[in-house]
């Protein structure tokens, strides 16, 4: 690499809690059975509350059984339990047997069925954190990562067993690390990262460990558990399972109460508020509101339930952006994005990557120069106000706000769903704007952005799809012009940084030719068809317009187009 990345300080962080038994997630797993029952019961009550009539409840049950049987018929996965068809078959039979029964008898039976269903879901969802398995995984990962790094980089005999490089050289963690560590002691942290790759979960798991934080729980898509390596990692990291195929009310309620109660009990959590990997490569700008909403609800419950005099445990939202030069799944993600934009049809989530592809990727990642950076944002309270290093919420003038006041009406804490829906909207807007602010721009993002926008500008009459089909002879940019534009865009990025609107990697500074070279060398580095290259004449060409568009999208939303 010509442009040296500023050497990471690389100081190890001490764990903030001494032993695993102190960790909230451990506490949760120790009382796993009680917790699962509590979740099921809360979900049961909530569903009943919203369906006061027996008929409504029966309809819901019938719909649930129908959907589950359809799912099993059409879309069964390796991870699905073997006894599933029997369970739902039984429920169905009992439902059918109920027809024509008296109202009183019906209600009791329907309640019983519902409780059975939500209990099953609650068990399905629950994570299974095991301290030993966590420790083992952690050591394995550390050991092998170190072997790979050193074996590939230190060119000496026996290098394989040296410890010159650690993962911290590959992955830069910047931002409010110290604050995050304090907040995790003072209250409950809900980390909300951007999501572009299946690797994100593992990356975040590693980051949390290396920052000395106790394990976080998180909802991982059940599809990931189809891949054995992932399943092992996830289980040992305390992941709970989210099955996106199940859209029925009992499942969704159970899921909601699972994450809400875990947060309420002080388990630090992670969730990806974009819901799924960003298909377009853009920073998320529409968040899933459900989980944010339950975070707000958890905070309100804590204010309501904590006995007077005791300190209320505060919940902190910490936005995090993950920045890559290369996203393993980029070609498929952008394909899905484009076909769904081009013609409005539903695309099921597909994972073409098995364990082998993953190992290949990891090997490439460690042996070649491609770094990842992680930006930790300032902590927010559940309404989206910044918090200081002690966890106090601050207003724009820096005055301390009592978060409790947001839930107060006429002097008392009240439950007002509609109000909390609005708070959710406010919080989600704040998270999106924080993502843009803490995002760390790489040279590879910049060159992709500039190249794509220059092509767009040269062909103003073409829409996106026209542009992506640009004939090959037009897919050349003169280097001199490209260089000038990069300089202009970089200047604007500097100025945005001055205004506190974005960050950039240190490698973005210095000689522009070297920066461009760095960008070209890294953008989508391991793709079969490289999104951006320099040809023999020293001009800029692309081998894959779609992935170029993907990497370009990372800088959409900063109004940089005007510098092209």
């Amino acid at each position: 690499m010509e442009v040296a990345e500023k050497k990471n300080k690389n100081k190890p962080y001490k764990p903030i809690l001494d032993g695993i038994p102190d960790w909230p997630v451990y506490q949760l797993s120790k009382n796993r059975k009680e917790f699962i029952e509590e979740v099921a019961l809360k979900a049961f009550n909530e569903i009943k509350k919203n369906r006061p009539m027996t008929k409504q409840l029966m309809d819901e049950l019938e719909a649930t059984v129908y959907r589950e049987q359809q799912r099993m018929k059409r879309n069964r996965w390796r991870v699905d339990p073997a006894d599933e068809p029997r369970f739902w078959g039984n429920i169905k039979e009992e439902l059918v047997a109920l027809s024509g029964k008296e109202e009183d008898e019906l209600q009791g039976k329907a309640d019983e069925l519902l409780l059975r269903i939500v209990s099953r879901y609650s068990n399905e969802i629950a994570g299974n954190f095991k301290a030993n398995s966590y420790r083992l995984t952690r050591e394995i990962v550390k050991f092998w990562f170190a072997r790979l790094l050193n074996g590939a980089r230190v060119k000496k005999f026996g290098a394989f067993f040296r410890n010159r490089y650690t993962l911290r050289d590959k992955i830069q963690i910047v931002g409010k690390v110290k604050q995050l560590r304090t907040l995790a002691k003072e209250g409950t942290v809900v980390m909300v990262p951007t999501h572009s790759s299946n690797l994100d979960s593992i990356l975040i798991g590693w980051i949390i460990h290396s920052l000395g934080l106790p394990a976080f729980i998180y909802g991982a898509g059940l599809n990931l558990f189809n891949i054995k390596i992932f399943a092992y990692f996830m289980n040992s990291l305390g992941a709970f399972k989210v099955d996106r195929r199940k859209k029925n009310v009992p499942y969704l309620e159970t899921l909601k109460f699972y994450s809400m109660l875990a947060v309420q009990k002080g388990a630090h959590s992670i969730f990806f508020p974009g819901g799924t990997r960003s298909r377009s490569g853009m920073i998320e700008n529409h968040l899933k509101l459900g989980l944010l909403n339950s975070t707000i609800e958890a905070q309100r419950n804590l204010y309501m339930d904590t006995p007077p005099g005791e300190e209320v445990r505060k919940i902190f939202i910490v936005p995090v952006t993950l920045n890559y030069h290369f996203v393993l799944e980029a070609p498929d993600l952008i394909d899905e994005y484009l076909s769904s934009k081009g013609q409005d049809r539903y695309l099921p989530e597909q994972d073409k990557y098995g364990s082998w592809q993953l190992i290949q990727f990891l090997f490439k990642f460690f042996t070649k120069g491609s770094n990842i950076s992680v930006s930790i944002g300032n902590g927010l309270d559940v309404i989206g106000n910044y918090v200081d290093d002690h966890g106090n919420s601050l207003d724009t003038q820096g005055r301390i706000i009592d978060t409790r006041d947001y839930f107060i009406s006429n002097g008392d804490i009240t439950v007002d769903k509609q109000r909390e829906d609005e708070y959710t909207r406010i919080l989600s807007q704040k998270i999106v704007s924080e993502y843009h602010r803490i995002n760390r721009i790489f040279a590879s993002h910049m060159v992709a952005f500039v190249a794509f926008e220059m092509w767009q500008k040269k062909h103003p009459k073409l829409d996106l799809f026209g542009l992506l089909r640009l004939p090959e002879e037009d897919q050349v940019l003169q280097y001199e012009e490209f260089r000038k534009t990069c300089k202009r865009v970089r200047k604007q990025i500097y100025s945005l940084k001055e205004q506190g609107k974005v960050y950039h990697a240190t490698h973005l500074k210095g000689n522009i030719d070297l920066v461009i070279r760095h960008g070209l060398d890294n953008v989508g580095i391991f793709h079969l068809k490289r999104p951006l290259l320099m040809n023999k004449d020293g001009n800029i060409i692309t081998k894959d317009f779609n992935t170029l568009f993907f990497y370009h999208n990372r800088l959409v939303g900063y109004d940089l187009e005007k510098c092209i």
């Binding site: 309404i383 106000n385 207003d395 724009t396 003038q397 005055r399 706000i401 009592d402 978060t403 006041d405 947001y406 107060i408 009406s409 006429n410 008392d412 009240t414 439950v415 007002d416 769903k417 509609q418 109000r419 609005e422 708070y423 909207r425 406010i426």
Partner: protein, 355 residues
């Protein structure tokens, strides 16, 4: 909605701004609650206290004038700030330290706030965009921690309200509890209160109608009759909708009480300040002469300036607004302006409903 049915106790309601409309609102609220009415000027507070009268309105017994913002915010959970847009931000800065997230603020100000870099003035800016032009609810949220913000808009001529004639208003807020609270406090047998959740749309409708009101005054001053007014009102609402959409409102808000309702009222009322300005312009007076002879603030003049520059920025066709702008600031006569408008080529009647 709420667990507890709100027994609001005896907490008083605050009104900030003892102008014409502020005083009337205070009197309306006083039918239900004790009201603290804040006036900036200590002498005005004393005078209201002594005479029990303000701006020609007798003051309800439940209204207590005050000069202390901090104690008002402390005593009242619900506050109605009703001060001219040009002073609004400053007032909010003073009020802000005393505001908590549980406060409900429902404003009744029909104007824009313009926030520019130090040293810049509106007249220096060739165009204005939405990052510089704020609605009043946005000012409240920028300057304080208040989130439960609402606005009060509709055909509410102070004198008619004071006389107890039947009327209606809209309370707009993202928060249902704000709408409910506003209804509970204001509604009475002569006064109907509607809810709306598009607060920015309702604010924009209330602000932009002032432009059309000036035009209505001008038509009237020229001695024209009801045909002309029908033309103006219908074309005016179209223009308001286009401008409003460009600035972030929905079409719907403009078709309700705060839009058409308010527009029809203001365009027919010689009581309205904005109407009066248009009328006197048509009679041949200049803007300077008119301003010199009145101490009340007509929001419309500033609104014309801001709306015109926004229309230019967002490339919205706004012939009425830009003509009024020329009449106010560029020495066009009302007669010339009218001739220009009558020759204006666009003649599609309704084109804002498709989409």
């Amino acid at each position: 909605m709420t667990l507890k049915s709100v027994s609001d106790g005896d907490k008083p309601v605050g009104v900030i701004g003892a102008g014409n409309f502020g005083t009337v609102v205070a009197n309306l609220l006083a039918r239900q609650r004790k009201v603290l009415l804040y006036a900036r000027d200590e002498h005005a507070v004393q005078r209201i206290h002594d005479t029990r009268e303000n701006r020609g309105h007798p003051i309800h017994d439940n209204v207590v004038p005050t000069n202390d913002l901090s104690s008002l915010a402390q005593q009242c959970d619900v506050i109605f700030p009703i001060v001219p847009s040009s002073h609004f931000r400053l007032m909010m800065k003073q009020l802000s330290p005393h505001i908590h997230p549980y406060h409900i603020l429902i404003h009744g100000t029909k104007g824009f706030d313009v926030k520019l870099a130090p040293g810049q003035t509106i007249d220096m800016m060739p165009t204005l965009d939405r990052s510089m032009v704020k609605t009043i609810s946005e000012v409240i949220q920028e300057e304080s921690v208040a989130v439960r913000v609402g606005c009060l808009a509709g055909p509410n001529l102070s004198r008619e309200l004071a006389a107890g004639h039947p009327a209606a208003t809209v309370i707009a807020s993202h928060f249902n509890e704000v709408v409910t609270m506003g209804k509970r406090l204001l509604r009475n047998e002569h006064f109907q209160v509607y809810g709306n959740n598009d607060i920015v749309g309702v604010e924009l409708a209330g602000v932009l109608k002032n432009i059309i009101a000036i035009a209505a005054g001008a038509l009237s001053g020229m001695g024209y009759g009801e045909n002309a007014k029908g033309l103006l009102v219908s074309r005016g609402i179209v223009e308001m909708i286009y401008l409003g959409r460009a600035l972030g409102g929905n079409t719907k808000a403009f078709l309700g009480v705060a839009g058409i309702g308010d527009l029809v009222t203001t365009c027919n009322s010689s009581l309205s300040r904005n109407f009066t300005i248009g009328y006197r312009l048509a009679q041949g007076e200049t803007l300077q002469e008119i301003l010199a002879s009145t101490d009340e603030i007509a929001e419309g003049i500033n609104t014309v300036k801001i709306a015109k520059k926004c229309a230019d920025h967002y490339k919205v066709r706004a012939p009425i607004t830009s003509t009024i702008y020329q009449v106010l600031f560029e020495n066009m006569t009302v007669k010339q302006g009218l001739e220009y408008l009558m020759r204006y080529p666009l003649n599609v009647d309704i084109d804002f409903l498709e989409q």
